[in-house]
Amino acid sequence: MNRLNNTLLLLGCPELPAQTGIALYLANKLARKNVDVTIAGTRSAINLIKVSDPERNYAKKLIDLDRCIENIAEKRTDFDSCFVFIHNDAGIAYLATIHSISKADLSAIIFGSNAETLASTIEFECRKIVAKTAHNPIPLKKKIDEVI
């Protein structure tokens, strides 16, 4: 993987427990490589991050998902890379949207019971990190460790 400068972690619906843990793990891993990490998500997803990391050791920059999309679409900001968390059809729609409006190097983190099926619906080139897990973050952590 190329050296990154700033990265967006775009969270999906937080109903699958693996998401928050993996987001914090990935944020820490990237920060240790001097990457500037921003995490975007729904209010619930962001609140889970805040409660899990109250001292903000890992999640230093947080932004509302809709505001993040607006800022990128209006060219107010962009990222060198973006990791989109996907476990449902809406996640695929967000991935395709980022692909359309951003120049970021794109990675799809696909998990949950339908991970492989969802991965097969992606119609453009991007890095796919796929693990069929919903609760246990370890399979996803292993896949992330293989590419970062």
Binding site: L11, G12, C13, E15, G41, T42, S44, A45, L65, D66, I69, E70, I72, A73, N88, D89, A90, G91, I92, A93, Y94, A96, T97, H99, S100, I101, E123
Partner: protein
Amino acid sequence: MGCVEEMDYEILLKNTSFKECREFVTSNFKEVYKVKPGYRMFEVYLIGVPPVMIGVDGDHVIFPYTKPCYGTFLLRIRGEEAIAALREGGGV
């Protein structure tokens, strides 16, 4: 994205997929526009897999509206200005 939710909208499809929305729009409306994801309408930025299909039915627009936890809804909202923008080339 509060603007759409505060408007007088009709839900044509709910908890559906972007693909089903696209098929519904192209099958049920004669006046259809393709836009890219991120297209701005009613002060929201449309989320979806391209091409995002928007239908026009009289003075109403029909478009997909995606929320991370609830999937995609196909909404019908009155919007003369949005229709004018589409007709003037806002679509792709």
